[in-house]
Amino acid sequence: MNIKFILKIIGLSLCVSASASAEWYSTVEGKYKYSNNLNNGISNDTVDDSIFALSAVGGKYFQLNDHDKLSIQSQFNGEVYDRFKGMNNLDLGGSLALTRKWALGLYAPWTSLSFGGAYIDYNNQVRSGSKFHVQLSSGKRITERLSVWADLQFDKRFTDYNVIVDQGVSGSVYNLTNKSFKLNTLYLFDSGLFIKSSYQFRQGDVVTTTLKNNANPNIDAVTTAASLDATFGSQAEAYRLTGTTHILNAGVSKVIMPHWLMSVEYQYVMIYGKGNNNYFVSTPALTSSYDF
């Protein structure tokens, strides 16, 4: 799995997108966010940072028949970190989704199956690699103002950094496998103001980085991969372990102009790792997006 494969997906997306009788969409988004626990560390071993992200999403819908549509999407995302430059990254990917609306009208339920892949290139190469996901989503507009939908996702990430370290422990910390369930709600206060919220339950691999030697003595017994992580200093080490993650998201969005949306969001992540290695992360964000 490498960047060539991802580029092939994007190329295929663009070729199919070039055909007529479909609808284009594209969004450019700028985001400023702050993380109080960038390294997923235990409480006395954390660093914080501010991040500026710029992303572009472009795609096309093909309405195949009265009920089915095919969506092809390419996306680019770049992140710049204020202090920890090793975290700076570029993310380029594409996805394909087939969606069925099960009946006629505003309140008809829908189901979607999507597949996507991306290549992430970090300044600190230990994190670079490819990621893929398969997602099954289903939802319904409950009232004119309230929509709910759920996502079931399986995702895998493959690092470019495959090293065996001592005693047979893998160095491929960023080879990660996860499955998750996410419940989303969207409520429209009026035509220009809405709130989004979601809860995600995630099971699989998580990565924590200790900043100093022996900062977390509990970790050695449960880690499934380890490597040095220069992003956070010469003594920092990244560990992979299994865990359960709960992610809460809430946000308010306001339409400023017909195509311009501003959002304030807050994310709280609770990671319960094996061996009582628990991490908590707060991330407020301010987002501005423009829809073409």
Binding site: G59, D66, Q75, T99, R141, L188, G192
Partner: protein
Amino acid sequence: MNLKNLLCCYVFGVLAVQYQHTLAAQVTVSVEDNEGHLIENAVVTAIPLNVNSFPKPKPKVKKEIVDQIDKEFFPFVKVVQVNTWVNFPNNDDIRHHVYSFSSAKRFELPLYSGTHAEPVLLDSSGVVVLGCNIHDWMIGYIYISETPYFEKTVSNHQTVFKDLPEGEYIMKVWHSNMLVSEESTSKRIKLDAIDNINIEWRLTLKPEFKIPRQWIPARSSLY
């Protein structure tokens, strides 16, 4: 009949037509919101009390149009008399799937582009709410009037019924956002030949609400 008689008949005829014209009364209508602003897209109807004064029309040969432009219905509110055919041309370069669940007329025009959709005969009075199954934010209304005497209000202007024949009428107003029933707006008027009447309604409207086009940025797989 000589030339003199013919001329007399002509002059009498012209005068009769002129007189008949002056018999038509004028009713000026104002539909305001609670703050006193004239509102647009309200439908005002004048129903003669003697319902036999107009027969139910046969289906019109001429077809009315509700267009689809830039993924919106145009006009937003269309008024037609009962038994009117309505065409739904699609002027976008994408396909639409127009439907109505309204009791006045249930119909569905499966996915189409251009002018390929069959016209729809609106054969009962009432309100038809239009939607597009592909673009949830697209919404439009067709008011199907039982009477031929109807007007739609425009922004910041009073609305005038110019040619109402002499007689008694029930006048009503409908708006897509009004909080009361159309029946509760009924006003009875009696028009003499040369009447000039002003009628006002003040409506409490629920706040305008429309599903926004861009509700989720990453919307590829969502409806």
